[in-house]
């Protein structure tokens, strides 16, 4: 009787405030965020315009909003222990689709364009997810294939023609620079998406199941989780966000040429990895991926300001990705040691 009554898990002796502060200090998101703040601060000291001019402030928020969308979607897919290499091609294809909507249907409402872009991207993501889950084949191979297919479709559809700013209504293009309370609209879109997806992953049952699937897919199947449906959902979400990013791309840059989104898939994976989303799945947050995206883009812009030629930009990004995963390894090794020590202590008692 008494054995069942005693609490097997005692509440932590540390006070809640201390615990939350400690957790925050140790969290990967805060660490990456701190690096971001340092980069911005150093660059601003060198050249105050980087932050304190109206353009500087706007670009700081606006430029990462594209990669932010891709990184959030990519993070969700990576959490399920898959990967989507086709997002760059999806972005390009959707951006061209968006431009064509305006050409073919002048006067189409902008909100409809956003929705259609989202749907179109979701469809492309569905194709990936369907192939991966229905045929039980690795996402890396499938999305490598669709990377070629989507880009091929995009390029043969576009041919040598391209969408120019004159093809799109000015109200749509204004969205690319418009600000509300000094915050660009496109950034607000990105942050709203981030908040929704983050909230879903953090609280909803479906979101938590994505983590369970990523930590151990076999166990998730045995436990009876709807693994296929959830993974398919993750791919659809990733595609939809890449589609949204395509619409945002068209609004931001005004032209869509064959290079749109080229190589973005690796940047998106890189942003997620820097933000602490483990490539083995099962851990990481979209907040981290978002901060990673901000950091990647901001470093790009900061390098020329601090006097390093931006040719070196990619080298810095690469070094950063490697530093991030080495840090992950060190931290998890320390955590494992601590857990082992704690276990041994309780056994001795």
């Amino acid at each position: 009787m008494s054995t069942t009554d005693t609490l097997l898990l005692e509440p932590s002796a540390i006070s809640p405030t201390k615990r939350i502060v400690g957790e925050l200090l140790r969290s990967r998101e805060i660490a990456v965020g701190a690096v971001l703040v340092v980069v911005v601060a150093l660059t601003t000291i060198k050249s105050p315009d980087f932050l304190f001019s109206s353009n500087g402030w706007r670009d700081l928020l606006l430029t990462p909003s594209l990669l932010l969308l891709l990184a959030v979607g990519q993070a969700v897919v990576i959490i399920t222990r898959n990967v989507d290499l086709s997002v760059g091609s999806t972005l390009g294809l959707t951006a061209y689709f968006t431009g064509n909507l305006f050409v073919d249907h002048p006067g189409i409402p902008i909100i409809a364009v956003f929705l259609l872009g989202l749907l179109f991207g979701a469809f492309l993501g569905f194709v990936n997810g369907f192939l991966v889950t229905f045929f039980n084949v690795p996402a890396l191979v499938i999305t490598l294939g669709t990377l070629y297919i989507y880009r091929g479709i995009f390029l043969s559809w576009a041919g040598s023609s391209r969408i120019n700013a004159s093809d799109m209504p000015s109200s749509f293009l204004d969205l690319g620079t418009k600000q509300i309370l000094t915050i660009p609209v496109l950034t607000i879109i990105g942050l709203v998406v981030l908040a929704l997806v983050g909230y879903y992953l953090y609280t909803a049952r479906g979101g938590r199941e994505l983590y369970a699937i990523g930590s151990d897919p076999d166990a998730a199947v045995l436990y009876g989780l709807p693994v296929k449906r959830r993974v398919l959902g993750a791919f659809v979400l990733c595609g939809a966000l890449a589609g949204l990013a395509g619409v945002v791309y068209a609004a931001r840059y005004g032209t869509v040429s064959s290079g749109a989104g080229y190589g973005m898939e690796l940047q998106a994976v890189g942003a997620a990895v820097i933000g602490g989303v483990a490539i083995f799945g099962g851990s990481g947050t979209v907040w981290g991926a978002a901060i990673g995206a901000f950091l990647l883009v901001t470093i790009n812009r900061a390098l020329p300001v601090v006097g390093i030629s931006d040719f070196w930009q990619r080298a810095v990004v690469g070094a950063l990705i490697i530093a991030a995963i080495v840090l992950d390894r060190v931290l998890s090794a320390r955590q494992a040691r601590r857990l082992v020590a704690a276990r041994d202590e309780t056994r001795e008692q």
């Binding site: 039980n136 890396l140 191979v141 490598l144 294939g145 070629y148 690469g318 990705i321 995963i325």
Partner: protein
């Protein structure tokens, strides 16, 4: 623990080939054989239906074009069979190209010396990947995405958007020379054949290669059977780096131009060819003759379609579709075999034993052919 980020399909287990069957039967029902058959069919079809395909120039240019992929596919096959991946190879190609260009033009070194240094640097690049993957035990997908950016960044950083185009004709001609005048085999096939023989021996006929397959099947088990898992992986990454650097030198001389962004995206082409050639992305399965056929298949399809005036975009769609079809075809085969086995089991009371046997064989085959 599997180091691939991809989970293995549910309900499949690994088993070893049924060695009781004769060699020709084992060879006939493999992915490699299917790829070779497809390659022969495509060549045969193009020969009859595509104008100018049988011209002597077609295969000459085909080999010139696919030579870097052929070369890099050799070590990449072994890397993927261990369950790892190397996405940084094309960046090493770019870096080695820039090094050869700068060492020759600015430092005044001769091409062979500059090339040797580039290969050494390539090996060091590979060693850095290998160290992080094999000894620090980091996931290769993440590591090589990082070094993809890092090595490319160094290449672009060193040279900017400039290009070195000042190479002695002796060497640029060598890159395009034929082994025998008027025949379709370019000189680059000589080092390729030497390397291919070496790699086939290493992978399929040596203890080292046995270890490579064992690591891909189960690296812990491989460790306990005495395979030095870390050293094997490390060496494979070093080879990938060195061979990529060699491909970079060829690339530079062939086009007579050293640029930081040379061969961008080549890593995806190499990986697509290797996977098309029947190597499993989960590791543990694959053969070099299939991979060489896979590279050739992509090359032949591209050149035949180009002769028919299709743009490179349409060709990309076809290659992508081929890659997707080749991986999902194994699922179809598995289902077909299951159906076949079920039919055999239900056909009569006396056949229940043979039905079960057949099902077991089908299960073995479907996993073998994955």
């Amino acid at each position: 623990m599997s180091t691939s980020i991809l989970s293995r399909p549910e309900g499949t287990t690994r088993s070893y080939p049924a060695y009781s069957r004769p060699l020709w039967r084992r060879a006939l029902f493999t992915r490699e054989f299917a790829v070779i058959a497809l390659l022969v069919a495509v060549i045969f079809y193009s020969n009859n239906n595509v104008e100018f395909f049988d011209g002597p120039l077609t295969f000459y240019y085909l080999f010139l074009d696919i030579a870097p992929i052929l070369l890099i596919a050799l070590p990449m096959t072994m890397v993927i069979i261990t369950g790892e991946i190397d996405l940084s190879v094309a960046s090493v190609v770019g870096l080695s190209s820039v090094l050869v260009g700068q060492l020759h033009a600015d430092a005044g070194l001769s091409i062979p010396v500059a090339g040797l240094i580039a290969i050494l640097v390539g090996a060091v690049c590979g060693a850095f990947n290998g160290f992080l993957v094999a000894y620090v035990k980091l996931p290769s997908l993440a590591v090589t995405i990082g070094t993809l950016a890092l090595y490319r960044g160094i290449a672009v950083g060193l040279l900017g958007t400039k290009a070195v185009t000042d190479f002695p004709e002796k060497w640029t001609d060598l890159a395009k020379k034929r082994v025998v005048e008027d025949h379709s085999f370019p000189m680059i096939l000589v080092p390729f054949v030497v390397l291919a023989v070496l790699f086939v021996w290493m992978l399929h006929f040596s203890t080292f290669g046995r270890g490579v397959f064992e690591i891909g099947l189960n690296d812990e088990a491989a460790h306990f059977t005495g395979v030095n898992v870390a050293r094997t992986k490390f060496l494979l990454f070093v080879m990938a780096g060195a061979v990529s650097a060699f491909a970079g030198i060829y690339y530079t001389l062939r086009f007579g131009s050293a640029r930081g962004d040379n061969a961008t995206g080549l890593e995806l082409q190499v990986i697509a060819a290797v996977l098309l050639g029947g190597v499993s992305i989960f590791g543990g399965r694959g053969a070099l003759h299939g991979v060489i056929a896979g590279v050739m298949l992509i090359g032949v399809i591209s050149s035949a379609m180009r002769l028919e005036n299709y743009t490179v975009n349409v060709i990309n769609i076809v290659i992508g579709a081929l890659l997707v079809l080749s991986v999902i075809s194994t699922s179809f085969l598995g289902w077909a075999k299951q159906l076949w086995a079920r039919r055999g089991r239900g056909s009569g009371p006396s056949s229940s034993e043979t039905g079960q046997h057949r099902q077991a064989v089908a299960a073995t085959e479907s996993t073998n052919e994955r």
